[in-house]
Amino acid sequence: MPKITYIAHSGDRKTVDAQIGDSVMLSAIKNSVSGIDADCGGACACATCHVYVDAAWVDRLPPMLELEKGMLDFAPEVRPNSRLSCRIEVSRELDGLVVEIPSTQR
């Protein structure tokens, strides 16, 4: 199973075994990673699953579609490596992915 590491704003790291086909958001929910609230359950309607993707991984992720871009446009503390984790599907290629959780999500 691909491993994904979530780094909380406090610096706490949590590495989980993710299921292929789940989103990076759902993998966090299934493993009680705090800070990934996912209020809308993955409908890309709320932007509470915002993450910063580790620099080494930014270019290796599937590109953003317009909806995700639009939601991020107004999210707090957006950076160039911002993504919504409900829009990133876990695949074998993503084994080792590291994402950081913004301070606005705890």
Partner: protein, 413 residues
Amino acid sequence: MAGRGVNERVVIIGAGHAGTSAAIQLRSLGFAGTIDLVGEEPHIPYHRPPLSKAWLLGKAGDETIALKPASFYAEQAISLQVGCRVDGIDRVAQWVSLNNGQQIPYDWLIVATGSRARRLPWALAGGSHLYELRTRSDAEALRQALQPGKRVLIVGAGYIGLEGAASARARGASVVVIERENRVLARVASEAVSAFFQRYHADRGVRFRFNESITQLLVRGSPPTCEVSFDRGIQEQADLVLVGVGAVPNQELGAACGLHCDDGIIVDQQTRTSDARIFAIGDCSRRPLQLYERTGRLESVANALEQARLAAHTICDAPAPVHEVPWFWSDQYDLKLQIAGLSFDVGLHVTRGDPSSARFAVFHLNGAGRLQAVEAVNAAPEFLAGRKLIASRRVLDPHALADASTSIKEIAA
């Protein structure tokens, strides 16, 4: 804040999105007392919105819709009891009684009993051919019935009806939607947005009958066929009937113990009922809508979460979170409808973008030029900017809003 409320007992009736979020919020605020979360459905708490979409398409399961994994509740010392009904609230003794004979004492009680599908008198005759869409069990029954080639008759062209229609078409069923009003989404959307959605569904094979009320449903023949009659004498036949004609608040427990109710348990800004020890949150409550200077019931995830936060902060005596603009969403086919605000007292409607491109927004301004609501179709920036602008109460220039060459970000800045 840790250690707050260490000897206090919170009981939450209802393990939907509101009740469960209240429990989670209490713990994240450092509440150290006991939390009992009692739910009537046999499942661990789950997201309802996917039921009318991903669940019906077979693309969601229990694990994907769960609000939290099953292990979460014990880890957070939240005593979750599912498949249990609360039968009564004793406000003097401060306990609730369960249908299994248990009595749970409380210092703070949160009523989060939700709402149930409105039932129409003729519907009883539909027996096992009649479907509603509120719970996981409802959705699973409907999913099994929705086979390719089935004839589905949907009563009500609201969110449930239209999302159900989109899912039924995706499953290869034929769909007729019956609506009492003269357009789809009549209660929740403006005419421009209604017209757009109606056309979109019609282009995908959904047939509509407007201004029709059903007088009778008969199930007969073999295989059994549902025969629906209208007040104008016309008939439709179907293999199954899905009814989505709104919801009624589950306020009975509150009313029975004397809490003030009026189409919902009446609550204040902090979600307190007429008893200061009891809160009511989510679909079952009638709340102040400060921006609009009236009260109302909001059936939405956003409202469930906001009221859960308010109740938890009040119990923990923490500074109140900022007031949120109400918001809603609906997914149909490849369309995402996002609505912010409520269309009260609106006079001017400004369309931005071209509906024929399936990416547009309609802004609704009041007489003073302030934004009351925005409806955005595949237009997340307009939705999010709208939320900000509604909260700001700024007077807006309608021409700038309508001009798609002015960036919405600039307008909202």
